[in-house]
């Protein structure tokens, strides 16, 4: 059964990773998700909120994560008031040694784990929507996974 969307606000510059991801992971586990899907979801959340923290601006409103857990799909939406940041670019996926910074490695992980990533800038806020589909639920062709 599909579940309603849930959300959590957190301070981007002082976040507790465990607390930010706990609700999502509990809901996903209740819906029947298991590792490696749970680890993938935790990793996506960590990499995104780490980037949100990096681009946070002093005094900005709390950041927010929203999640919707479906039977075969999890949709995540991250909203923050940091400086504009589109995680879809650059598209180069072959990191050189000099690119092995936490930020660039994190973005590559997000791109590889997500089924789709959409970004928008609205009213001074970054709005990032990520759709995650566990490998076991992906189409047999595997063609849709980046």
């Amino acid at each position: 059964m599909d579940r309603p969307a849930r959300s959590l606000e957190y301070q981007a510059d002082d976040m507790d990773l465990e607390a930010v991801s706990r609700g999502l992971l509990e809901d996903a586990a209740d819906a029947g998700y298991r590792d490696p899907a749970l680890a993938d979801l935790r990793l996506i959340v960590e990499e995104v909120v780490t980037n949100v923290r990096k681009h946070a601006q002093a005094g900005s409103e709390p950041a927010r994560i929203e999640w919707w857990v479906g039977p075969d799909t999890v949709q995540l939406r991250f909203v923050d008031g940091g400086i504009p940041f589109d995680p879809r670019a650059p598209s180069d996926e072959s990191l050189q040694a000099a690119d092995h910074t936490t930020g660039k490695m994190g973005l590559l992980l997000i791109r590889k784990l997500a089924q789709s990533i959409d970004y928008d800038r609205q009213d001074g806020r970054n709005e990032l929507t990520i759709v995650y589909v566990p490998a076991s639920a992906a189409p047999a062709t595997g063609a849709t996974r980046p």
């Binding site: 960590e46 936490t102 490695m105 992980l109």
Partner: protein, 129 residues
């Protein structure tokens, strides 16, 4: 879950056993390990990841700092027995060569024996010159 770290030396080099989660919350705990291996001038570093349940980019960056340290000392860093989640992250980032990640202790031992023999042979050659 927290992070537990243990450093041991044996004939093969310095073994760092990492247990738990290595993420943005726990990665700073790797700093004392780096300092310790820096003091020891560690050359061959083995990261035992058989009980490392979760790795993120923040944790991987700490591993890469140890890799640089080993290489600066003329040695190498290898990863032993990564769990599936750790293996997935390594496969995506490709920061550690595939031939320096070992699925089993036996594979690792064979590799390190070969490395030791290579170093010994090289030393013998130097003497000969």
């Amino acid at each position: 879950m927290s992070l537990n770290l243990e450093i041991n030396d044996d004939a093969r080099g310095t073994i760092v056993k990492i247990e738990g989660r290595l993420d943005s919350d726990t990665a700073p705990q790797m700093r004392p390990v780096y300092d310790e291996l820096l003091d020891r001038r560690a050359r061959y570093i083995v990261l035992d990841c058989s009980r490392l349940e979760y790795l993120s980019s923040a944790g991987l960056q700490r591993m890469l700092q140890l890799k640089k340290l080993a290489e600066a000392n003329g040695g190498r860093l290898v990863i032993s027995e990564p769990t599936p989640q750790v293996r997935k992250v390594l496969d995506i980032i490709k920061a550690v060569p595939v031939n320096e990640v070992f699925a089993s202790q036996q594979e690792l031992d064979a590799y390190l024996d070969l490395m030791q023999k290579s170093v010994t042979d090289s030393s013998d050659d130097d003497v000969g010159l």
